[in-house]
C-alpha cells in the first residue's frame, strides 16, 4: 500500500509560503526581509487558488514562492545585514559612552556590501537590464534632484547625478532619443537603446517640499540597487560606443589655467567638431585670448599630440588624476599638454560640472567613433525579402534624418528656460547649444554669435534682438522632435499663444478621439498640407456617423447642400443608405443573439468597453466643438 495522501501536503499548498513563514525561515526582521526582497528582486506571487494554499481559508495574505525563499536562504547579503546590525550596536554604544576614539574607529570599519553579483544574477544579459531600466532611470533622475538631507545621503545623490549625466551622454552620443513630452508631472523622454524602448520621467527642476508620507528608507534601498545597475549598464553602453567610461569631454582637458573665463572661451572653439572648425572661432576680439586659442588649436588639432605621459615631472599630478579615472580601461590616455608645458589641474568639481553641461561630445577610446549606419544595411540584405529591405531602408533613412534634425541649427538658451533638458534634447539631435557663460559652465559660444539660428526664450518680450535668428519658445524644440521635422517657427514666436502640446506616446486607434491638432500634424507628416481641411472634415464625418444613423435625415451634409439644385435625389440616396445601415445593424443584432453562451460575456465586455471608449471620444469631440464655436463667436465680436 502506498503512503497515505493527506490534504495540503503537496501541490499549491507547498509551493507557496506566507510572508510571516518566510521571515521566520530566514530569521530576519521584517525590515531586513523587505530590503532583501528589494535588492534580490523577489516579489510576492498571487496563487491561482488561494483556498488551496491557505488550507481552505480565503483570508487575505501575501504569498511568496517557496523556491524564491529558498533562493534567499543562501544569500551572503543576509550575513552583511547581520554585520551591519552589529556595527550599529557597537556604534551606538560608543556614541552613548562618548568614546570618540572608538566611534571613529568603528565608523571607519563600516561594513559595506556590493551588489554587482546580484545585478548579474537578476539580469544575466544586459538586454534584460535595459528592459527593466525604466523605473531605475526615473528613480535616479528623481534622486539626482534631491537636496542633501538626513534621509538622502550626499553620496547617493551625487552618484545618481553622475550616473544620470553619464546616461544622458550616452543617449547623446548614440543619438537614441526618440520622443520627448512635457507633462505637468515632469518631462518624459523615450529612447531606443539596443532595440529596447526606455521611457523615463524627470521632474521639473524646481523646489518642492518633501512629502512626509513617504518612506525614504525604502526608496533609498531601491536607489542603492538602481545606481549599481545603472552604473554597470552605463559602462557597458559606453564600451559599445568605444567611449571612455567615466566620461571625459572630447576637448583637451588642460585649459589655459588663467581663470575660468579663459577656459570657457577655449571651449567655444568647437574643436571636437572638425567640420565646424571653419566657423568663426570666437566672437571675442581680445588679442590675448585669440593668441592662446590659435596656439592651442595648432597644438591640439593633429592627433600626434596625443601622447601618453610618463608619471614623472610636472605631468605627474595630472597623470595621476587621469589614471585614477581610467584605471580599468585601455591604457591609451588622451592627456594633452598645454603649449607651455604647464598643465593645469582641473578640480573634480569643475570636471564634473563640465561633463554635466553636456555641450561637448565625449572622448572616444580608439580615436573616431565608428559610423554605425553601415551595419544595419548589411544585416538587412540577409533577410532576403525585397519589400522588407526597402521598408527597412526607408526606416533607417527616417531615423538618420531624425538623428540629425538640429544639425544645421545653432541654439542659444536664455536663462529662464530649462537648460539641462533642452541641452540634452538639442544635442541628441545633432544641434549645437550654448548659454550665457555667467549662468553655468560649459557655454561654448556667446549670445552675440551671428551664426546662431535659434534663440530659445520663455518671456513675453526681449529688449535686444538679433535679426539673424528666430526667437522661439521651448515647446518648439519638443514639438519638432515629436513631429520628426523642423516645424514652422511662426506659431512658437516669443510671446505667441502656443499651439497645444500633444503627447507623442498616444497612438490613436479606430474610434479613439483624435484632437484636430494631431490630425493636422499627421497630414503634415504625410506631406499633404493642402488636404488638411479635407481630412479634418472627413474625420468629423466618421465620428458623427453613428449619431447620424439615429438622428433624422436632416443631417449636416444636407444642410450644406441647401444651395444645390438637386435636392430630392440626394434625399432619396440618403434614405437608401440609412436603410442599408439599418439593415446591417439589424442583421448584426440578430447575429449577436446567436453568440454561444460561452463567449457571450466576453463579447459583451468587449463591446461595453468599446462603447465607453466611443462615448468618451464623443464627449471630447463635443467639448471641442463647443470651445471652437465659442472662440469663433468671440472673434466675430472682436471683429
Amino acid at each position: 500500500m502506498g503512503k497515505r495522501k493527506r490534504k495540503y501536503e503537496s501541490g499549491a499548498a507547498t509551493t507557496y509560503i506566507s510572508r510571516n513563514q518566510a521571515i521566520r525561515k530566514l530569521q530576519l526582521s521584517l525590515a531586513d526581509f523587505r530590503r532583501l526582497c528589494i535588492l534580490k528582486g523577489v516579489y510576492p506571487q498571487e496563487p491561482l487558488h488561494k483556498k488551496k494554499v491557505n488550507k481552505g481559508s480565503t483570508a487575505p495574505k501575501t504569498y511568496y514562492h517557496v523556491k524564491d525563499i529558498q533562493f534567499l536562504l543562501h544569500e551572503p547579503l543576509i550575513q552583511r545585514f547581520r554585520e551591519f546590525k552589529h556595527f550599529m550596536r557597537r556604534l551606538k554604544k560608543a556614541v552613548s559612552k562618548k568614546n570618540r576614539n572608538a566611534e571613529e574607529r568603528i565608523r571607519a570599519n563600516k561594513p559595506k556590501y556590493k551588489l554587482d553579483k546580484i545585478v548579474k544574477e537578476r539580469y544575466p544579459t544586459y538586454i534584460d537590464a535595459l528592459r527593466d531600466l525604466d523605473d531605475c532611470l526615473s528613480m535616479c533622475f528623481l534622486f539626482a534632484t534631491f537636496p542633501v538631507t538626513k534621509r538622502t545621503h550626499a553620496e547617493m545623490i551625487h552618484l545618481c547625478r553622475r550616473l544620470t549625466v553619464e546616461f544622458q551622454h550616452y543617449i547623446i552620443a548614440s543619438g537614441s532619443l526618440r520622443k520627448v513630452f512635457i507633462s505637468i508631472k515632469g518631462i518624459y523622454y523615450q529612447a531606443e537603446v539596443m532595440g529596447q524602448t526606455l521611457t523615463w520621467i524627470v521632474p521639473h527642476k524646481l523646489g518642492y517640499k518633501h512629502p512626509d508620507d513617504v518612506d525614504y528608507k525604502i526608496m533609498s534601498t531601491f536607489v542603492d540597487f538602481y545606481t549599481t545597475l545603472l552604473g554597470f549598464v552605463n559602462f557597458r553602453l559606453y564600451h559599445s560606443l568605444n567611449l571612455h567610461y567615466p566620461p571625459q569631454s572630447e576637448s583637451p582637458l588642460s585649459p589655459t589655467g588663467k581663470g575660468f573665463v579663459n577656459f570657457r572661451l577655449y571651449h567655444s572653439l568647437n574643436l571636437h567638431y572638425p567640420p565646424q572648425s571653419e566657423s568663426p572661432l570666437s566672437p571675442t576680439g581680445k588679442g590675448y585670448v585669440n593668441f592662446r586659442l590659435y596656439h592651442s588649436l595648432n597644438l591640439h588639432y593633429p592627433p600626434q599630440s596625443e601622447s601618453p605621459l610618463s608619471p614623472t615631472g610636472k605631468g605627474y599630478v595630472n597623470f595621476r588624476l587621469y589614471h585614477s579615472l581610467n584605471l580599468h580601461y585601455p591604457p591609451q590616455l588622451t592627456v594633452k599638454l598645454d603649449e607651455d608645458g604647464d598643465e593645469e589641474i582641473l578640480t573634480n568639481d569643475e570636471r564634473q560640472e563640465r561633463v554635466e553641461a553636456m555641450t561637448q561630445s565625449l572622448m572616444a577610446i580608439g580615436g573616431d567613433v565608428q559610423d554605425e549606419a553601415d551595419a544595419p544595411d548589411e544585416f538587412q540584405t540577409e533577410s532576403g525579402d525585397p519589400d522588407y529591405i526597402e521598408k527597412a531602408k526607408v526606416e533607417a533613412e527616417d531615423l538618420k534624418r531624425l538623428q540629425t534634425l538640429f544639425k544645421d541649427c545653432k541654439f542659444f538658451l536664455n536663462r529662464e528656460v530649462p537648460r539641462e533638458s533642452l541641452t540634452f534634447i538639442i544635442r541628441s539631435f545633432g544641434g549645437q547649444v550654448s548659454w550665457d557663460e555667467t549662468l553655468a559652465s560649459g557655454a561654448t559660444y556667446q549670445e552675440s554669435d551671428e551664426t546662431i539660428t535659434h534663440q530659445i526664450v520663455d518671456r513675453p518680450s526681449l529688449s535686444k534682438q538679433y535679426m539673424s535668428r528666430h526667437y522661439v519658445q521651448p515647446q518648439w524644440v519638443f514639438d519638432s522632435v515629436n513631429a520628426k521635422q523642423l516645424l514652422p517657427v511662426e506659431d512658437y514666436f516669443m510671446g505667441a499663444v502656443l499651439p497645444p502640446h500633444l503627447s507623442p506616446f498616444v497612438e490613436e486607434q479606430d474610434g479613439d478621439y483624435v484632437p484636430p491638432e494631431k490630425v493636422k500634424l499627421l497630414s503634415r507628416l504625410q506631406g499633404k498640407e493642402q488636404d488638411v481641411t479635407e481630412k479634418a472634415s472627413k474625420t468629423q464625418k466618421k465620428s458623427t456617423k453613428k449619431r447620424k444613423m439615429e438622428k433624422q435625415p436632416s443631417s449636416p451634409p444636407q444642410k450644406k447642400t441647401k444651395h444645390a439644385t438637386v435636392e430630392e435625389g440626394q434625399a432619396e440616396k440618403v434614405d437608401v443608405d440609412k436603410q442599408l445601415a439599418r439593415q446591417t445593424a439589424e442583421e448584426r443584432r440578430l447575429a449577436e443573439m446567436m453568440i454561444p453562451k460561452k463567449h457571450k460575456r466576453l463579447y459583451h465586455k468587449i463591446m461595453y468597453s468599446k462603447k465607453k471608449k466611443t462615448q468618451e471620444a464623443q464627449k471630447l469631440k463635443e467639448k471641442r466643438d463647443a470651445i471652437d464655436k465659442a472662440q469663433k463667436k468671440q472673434k466675430k465680436k472682436a471683429a
Partner: protein
Amino acid sequence: MNKPADASRSGSASEDESESASEESVYSGLEDEPDTSSDEKEENNQGDDGDQLPDEYVEDSSDEEDIRNTVGNVPMEWYRDYGHLGYDVTGSKVMKPKHGDELDEFLDKMENPNYWRTVTDKMTGQKMVLDDGDLEMIKRIQKGAHPSTSENMYEPWVDFFSSETMIHPVTNRPADKRSFVPSKWERLKVGQMVHAIKMGWMKRREEKKSKEEEEDPFYMLWKDDEEPDITKRYRQHIPAPKLPLPGHAESYNPPPEYLLTKEEEEKWKEQEPEERRQNFIPQKFSALRKVPAYDRFVNERFERCLDLYLCPRQRKMRMNVNPEDLIPKLPKPKDLQPFPTTEAVVYKGHTDMVRCVCPDPSGQWLATGSDDNTVSNTTVLIVNPGLVDKLLVSNTDTLVMSFEDSQDAPAEKKVPVDWIASDLNLEDYKTGLRLKVEHPKEISQVTWHAKGDYFATVMPKGESMSVLIHQLSRRRSQNPFSKSKGLVQRVLFHPVRPFLFVATQRFVRVYNLLKQQLTKKLQTNCKWVSSMDVHPGGDNVIIGSYDCRLSWFDLDLSTKPYQTLRHHKKALRQVAFHPRYPLFASASDDCSIIVCHGMVYSDLLQNPLIVPVKVLRGHTAKNSVGVLDCHFHPTQPWIFSAGADGTARLYT
C-alpha cells in the same frame, strides 16, 4: 530608632567625647524640635573646632520629660482615633496632649506674640516655636536656594592635581615596575601590526579611504563572449508591468477639450483616489516657465516602488479577441426569405387584452379570444362557423350529428364530462353551436388531433383528470392518466404518429397512445414551461418558458435541449412552428415576436439550422404583459399575434 534616645540620655555620663560628637552629627536631624535651638549652638561650636566639645547637656534638664515617639515613619493618621500617639522607649503610650478649645486657641492667637511661628509636631503632638534659623531655612527653601546658609556652593576650585609639576610627589608610594619596564604585550602587538603593514595586509585609515575613493565600482559586468546562465528562476520570472505612458491630458499645454469642467473636477475630487481614472487634474499653462513642480511626484515614485516589491504578481493571459470572430458565421437573413418582416394589419376591436388568436385552415378568417367578455371557462363549445366552403360545412355537420348513442359501452371509468348536443331548432344552432362538452373545472387549453376526430383538453385544477381526450365521432371522453404528474401546462398531439406530448412545469412527457406508455421524458432545464409546439415533421419540439428561454429539442438526438435560445428579455408566452415554411416564432412579454429560421434536414446526421431572422415589434405592454399569442398563417409566411394592448396584428 532607639539609638538617638540612648545617645541623648545615657551618653551624658559614660561615653567619651569623640564618639558622642560623631553620633551627634549623625543623628542631629532626628532631635526633637524643641531642642533645635540648643543643637544649633552646639553645631556652631563644633564648626569652630572639633576637639573642644562643649557640654551638650548644658541646657538639657533630665527632669524634663523627654517625649520620644518610637512608632517610626508611619502615617500618623493611623492613631487618629486613639487617645495615644505611639509609644516611647519604655513601651508606654505617648498620650495625645490636651488641646484647648477654640476659645483657648483664639486667646492664644491674640495674646501669644509667637503664635505665628508656632507649629505642632505630628509625632508628639507638642507645640513648638520655630526659631529664626528655622524661618530662614524655610525662606531659603521657598526661594529654591540651599537650605543651609553656611554651605557655599561656589567655593573656589583648588587645582590639586595641577599641570604644574611639583618638586615633591603627592604620595610617597614607590613607582611600579611596569611604569619603567616596556610592556611585552604591547611590543608583541606592535610587532604584529608592523608585520601586517609590511606585508600589505593592513592599511592606514587614510590609505584605505583614498583607495576606496579611487576605485571605480563599475566594470564590464556583461562580457560579450560570456554565456549567460539562464536559470529556471530567470525563465519563470514575472516582470512587473510598465507604467502607462502619458496621454494628451497630462500635457502642460493640452488641447482645451481635455481640461475638466467644474462639475467634472468636483466629481474627480469626490472620488476615492483608487477610483479615479486619472491621478491628476489636467492643467493648462501658457508658457513653460509657469509650470510648477508636481507635488505628488515623489509619492508617485514611492507608490511605484511599493508596487514593485509588495504587489503580488500573477501571470495572466490576456486575450486579444476581435469581437467579430465571436459572432458565429450564419447565413444572412436575406438569403433565408421568406419570413414576416413588416406589420401589415392591426386588428382593433377588443377592449381588453387579446388572449389568443387562431386563423382558420384556409387562412381567410381569424378568430381571437379576449378578456373583455366573461365566458364560462368550463365548457368546450364546438361551433361550426359556416364561413368557408358550403360542402365542407355540411360535411362537418353531418359528421358531428351522425352520432348514435350505442348504449352498449359500459361506463368503466367514470369521466365527469357531459356532452350536450345543440338542438336543431335552437337559436344557438343557427349561430353555429353544435356541441357542448361540459367539464367540471376550468379549462386552459384545447388542442385538436391532426385527423380531426380527437381533441384534448387541459384542466389544470383537475388533478388526476387534468388531461382529457375526447372523441368527437363517438362523443366520448377518456382520462388517459390515472395519476397526475404535476401541473400540466400544455398537451399536444403528434402530427403523424400516435403520440401525446404533455408539458408539465419542468418536463415534457411523450406518451405512446397505442401502447399506453411513456416513451420519452424531455428535460427542459427551465423553471416553468409556458408553451410548446411540435415541428410539422414531428421530430422536433420547441418549448417556451417563463424564464425567457426557448428550447429546441431534437427527439432523435437526446432528451436534453439541442439548443437553448435566450433571445427575449422577458417571459415567453407562446411559441409556434410554421406548418409549411421552415420558420418558428416566439412571443414574449417584452412586446416582441422573434421569428427564426429553423430548418430541419431529412438527413439525420445534419443538425437543424437555427437562425434568428426578424424581431417584430408593434405591441405595447399592459400590466407588464406583452404579446400573449402568436400563430402562423397556414399557407403564407405571415404571422398573427395577439397582444395585451387589445389588438391583434398581422405581420407579412
